[in-house]
Every structure is written in structure tokens, then in C-alpha cells.
Point group: C2
């Protein structure tokens, strides 16, 4: 099967399960609607597809991997809603659609974000009830650590405090490791635990860290040179906000070079882990994208 077709099938699988989980939870409409709006706004579903694909490569339970991946996607979606708020990045559009607060107002958008973060934990605790497996608890711990004050939220706070500051490379690196890297890492490492392959945790952590760094550098490059229409969001916002990026610190050529170096390492590990080739193609797809 062609990679693009496989990818599409997995995205479809994730989309169906995200809807099933949300729709079956009996959530009052006043908060269900804004939650659903942002979940349906789409995106590439990279995080759950990483969880799924690594679990498949390691021979774990795909049904469980899908639910763990969906929980991570709910966390990712909540973070986008809060990031877009007027008090934060103040974005009117996300993936070509109006942002949550532009449709539902700020108060409901804040609550929809809260609800999605919480819902992720509802999904995860459901998995723990179904499977009395200590490694599943470790997978949950990995995810909650990555999304909170020692992970994504810390990264967002550092990001906000860094506007109009001349960050050093290590500071920028640390900020992104927390803001976007930690949850990508958790999506990958959780797969090792779900697959009862604790011995594979460190190699997969390594894979995910190089992937995360490369992914962020590519993001900065795309923001610098990208095409507004293709990305479906306002580009050049980094420059506008006078934010340090890999491009402003390293220059465009050096940024491209480093993205390639990290990409190479993660693709090499992907090939070792997944003999089917899907994971390395996915990695290539993420790192040589134009949106």
C-alpha cells in the first residue's frame, strides 16, 4: 500500500475514534459543542499516529494504543484552544477555521480547553480500569508529566515570558523541548509501555527527541518562508512578536542543516524499530513537509 494511503487510513481511524469517545460520553451540549468544534478542526493527528505506528511495530494492542493516542490528541487540542486565546497568542484562525473563542467566546473557549484536558484523563483512567497492567500506569504517568508544569505548560509559560527577549540557543531548545517535544516524546514512549516493551523505552525516547527537535526547526523554517494559504494560519507571527526562533538564531542555512541532522538520526532509528517502513516514511513526511 502506498504511504499516503496508509497515512490517510490511520488519520481516518483516529478521527472515527475521537468522535466515538466524545459522542459516547454523554456530555451536556453547552460544552460538548465547543469541544467537538476544535477536535473536528482536524490537523494531521501526528501524535496518535505515532502512538499507533510504534505500538504496531512493537506488537502491542492497537485498540489500546488508539485510545492512548486519542487522549494525547485531546490534550494537544486543548493546548491549541488556550494558546489561541486573546491573552495568549490572540489568533483568529487555526487550520483555516475560526479559533474556538472567535466562535464561542472567551469564557466558553477556556472551559472547552479545560474540559478536553480533563477528558483526556477520563479516557486514560478508563484504560487503567480495563487493564490492570503496571506498564499502562507508566504510560499514563509519562503523558501527564509531559503535558503539565514539567512539560508543555512550562514550555508555554517560558514562551510567553520570552517575547522580546534575546534567547540563547540552549534556552530556545529547552523551551521547545518542553512546549512541543515533551508530548511528542510521551506519544512515542507510551507506545513502548502499551506494548509491554519497557526495554525499548530509551531507544524510542531517543527517536522521539530527535524527531521533536527536527519538527520544531522545520516549523520555524516554514514560519519564516512559508506560504500563508498552505498553512491555514497567519505566518510570520514569530517575527511580528519579535520571538526568537531557530531561524533568527542560527540563520536559515544552519537551521536547515540541523533539521537534516536530527531527521537523519530519527529516520535511522525508525528503520531499526519498524521493519514495515511506515515509521521512517512518517518521519520523512513530517520533516520534509511544506505545511
Amino acid at each position: 500500500m502506498l504511504f499516503n494511503q496508509q497515512l490517510k487510513e490511520r488519520q481516518q481511524m483516529v478521527n472515527v475514534r475521537l468522535s466515538e469517545l466524545l459522542d459516547s460520553a454523554n456530555i451536556p451540549n453547552v460544552i460538548y459543542e465547543p469541544m467537538k468544534y476544535s477536535v473536528d478542526a482536524g490537523g494531521k493527528r501526528i501524535r496518535p499516529i505515532l502512538t499507533l505506528s510504534i505500538t504496531e511495530a512493537l506488537g502491542g494492542d492497537l485498540k489500546d494504543a488508539l485510545d492512548f493516542g486519542c487522549a494525547i490528541e485531546f490534550i494537544h487540542t486543548y493546548s491549541l484552544i488556550h494558546d489561541d486565546l486573546p491573552a495568549m497568542d490572540n489568533d483568529d484562525f487555526r487550520r483555516g477555521k475560526l479559533t474556538n473563542h472567535k466562535v464561542y467566546g472567551e469564557a466558553i473557549a477556556i472551559l472547552a480547553g479545560d474540559a478536553l484536558l480533563n477528558f483526556a484523563f477520563e479516557v486514560l483512567s478508563q484504560k487503567l480500569e480495563e487493564n490492570n497492567n503496571p506498564l499502562y500506569v507508566k504510560a499514563v504517568k509519562e503523558i501527564v508529566k509531559a503535558s503539565g508544569s514539567r512539560g508543555m505548560v512550562a514550555g508555554q509559560a517560558i514562551d510567553i515570558k520570552s517575547e522580546n527577549k534575546q534567547l540563547k540557543l540552549e534556552e530556545l531548545y529547552n523551551m521547545h523541548r518542553l512546549k512541543t517535544g515533551a508530548i511528542i516524546e510521551a506519544a512515542c514512549v507510551a507506545a513502548a509501555y502499551i506494548s509491554n516493551r519497557e526495554e525499548s523505552v530509551e531507544i524510542i525516547r531517543d527517536f522521539s527527541r530527535h524527531l521533536g527537535i527536527a519538527f520544531q526547526i522545520v516549523d520555524d523554517i516554514l514560519d519564516f518562508i512559508g506560504d500563508e494559504k498552505k498553512l491555514g494560519k497567519t505566518v510570520g507571527k514569530d517575527k511580528e512578536a519579535n520571538k526568537a526562533t531557530y531561524v533568527t538564531i542560527l540563520g536559515i542555512d544552519e537551521a536547515k542543516k540541523r533539521a537534516q541532522e536530527h531527521s537523519k538520526i530519527s529516520i535511522k532509528i525508525a528503520n531499526d524499530i519498524d521493519k514495515s517502513g511506515f515509521l521512517s516514511k512518517l518521519t520523512e513526511y513530517l520533516l520534509f513537509r511544506d505545511n
Copy 2:
């Protein structure tokens, strides 16, 4: 020992543990500080003290109960930070101190709330790692369901959508059951699971529901007749926002009567559950308070 002294000791126990949990987690300062600020802003620590006291009455592990209670207090604290935001209730003061966003700005306040919600789940998943007990998973599920889109967050969303609307009694009741009742219920019911006393879940649920309703009616009465200084927050805000309350719907006398009826039932159950008498005194204290 006098009740007041016992209560103070338990509040102290909760405060010490809240600090231990936060301080030992290695949270970057940029987000640790605003989290700590609101956790330290105090309050009566009702929810963790309920978890503790019921666990003690049922003979469960008090150390574990304390951590579950602290997780619930972190959830409660996050909800106050987000509730106080300009887009929500727009409060400048809480418990006599400036609200989180007045000190740290809106963006960091949103993130501090997110971080506290997340941190609660970090504490809970740590307990699950330490204790491979299916009833502990049930306690966690009870808490996450109560705090999210089928509990507190739904209640807050309904509350926001109800401003300037003439709510009926059942609608008001439903809103409060979700907004404040669910998490009080979870604080109590979790204690039954932690104590390995699944057979006690329903009687404790009953206790907590009557307590929750009475507590909310008393809150509305206090807001109506209360003294601004004693409460440490702006009173009469309900009237100002043209919000339906038990007092505006029932009138002050009927509201007082109903508070007493629900109080009586919960105090009776408290006496049955807890022979030491602490739980019934705590219930009386909560329902015959002036702040």
C-alpha cells in the same frame, strides 16, 4: 479534643502536604510561582478534609487519603483561578488576596490553572503506581468524571450561559450539582474506595449530595446577606450579574428551611458513618458558617 482544634490540625496537615507535593516536583519557577500563589491563598480545605475524615471513619489509609484529597484541592484551586479571569467572573480579589491574573497577568493565570489541573492527575497517577488496587482506579475515575465535562466544567459552562436568564429551580439545582456538588461528592466517595469499602459508596454519595446542596444554598444565603469583610470577596455579585440563586427563586425563608432539611439528613448520615463525631461536627460547621 475540641472540634476547632481538630479542624485546625487537619487543615495544617493538608497545607503541609500540598506544599510538599508542589515543592518536590521540580517545577520551573515561571509556572511554579503562580501555582503556589493560589494554592497558598488558602481557604478552608473542605474537600481534602472530607476525604481524610471519611477515610478515617472507614478505617482506610490516611496517607493515601491525604494525597487524593490534595489532588482534589489542586483541582478546586485551578477552577477558582479560571473562574476569576476577566472573561469569566472578572474578580480582582479572592480570599482577601489579589486574584492570580491580577498578580501574574491573564496568560500566566490561564496556564497556572491548566498546570494545577494537570498536577492533580500527576499526583493521582503516582498513587496508582504505588498501589495496584482496582478500587484506587475507581476513586480516580470518580474524581476525573466530577471535574470535567460531565461535572464541574459543565456546571461552569451552564452558569455562564445562564446569566440574565430566569432559571427554574430544577435548572439551578442541576447547575450547582455539576458546578460544586460533583467534586464534593467525589471527595467523599473517593474515601470509600480508598478504604476498600465499596459497599459504603452509595450511603456516602447520599451524604455528600445533601451536604453539597445545603452548602450551596448556604452560599447563596451568605451572598445575599453576608458581610463583605468576613467573606474576603465581593458580595452581592450574584444580584449584580442578575443571576438566579436559591434565594432569588425560593425567597430567603424557604431557602433557609431547605438548607436546614438537607443539613439534617447529611448530619444524620455523618453520625451513622463516623462514631467519633468529627464528620457530623464538620458538616454542622460547614452548614452553619458565616463565611
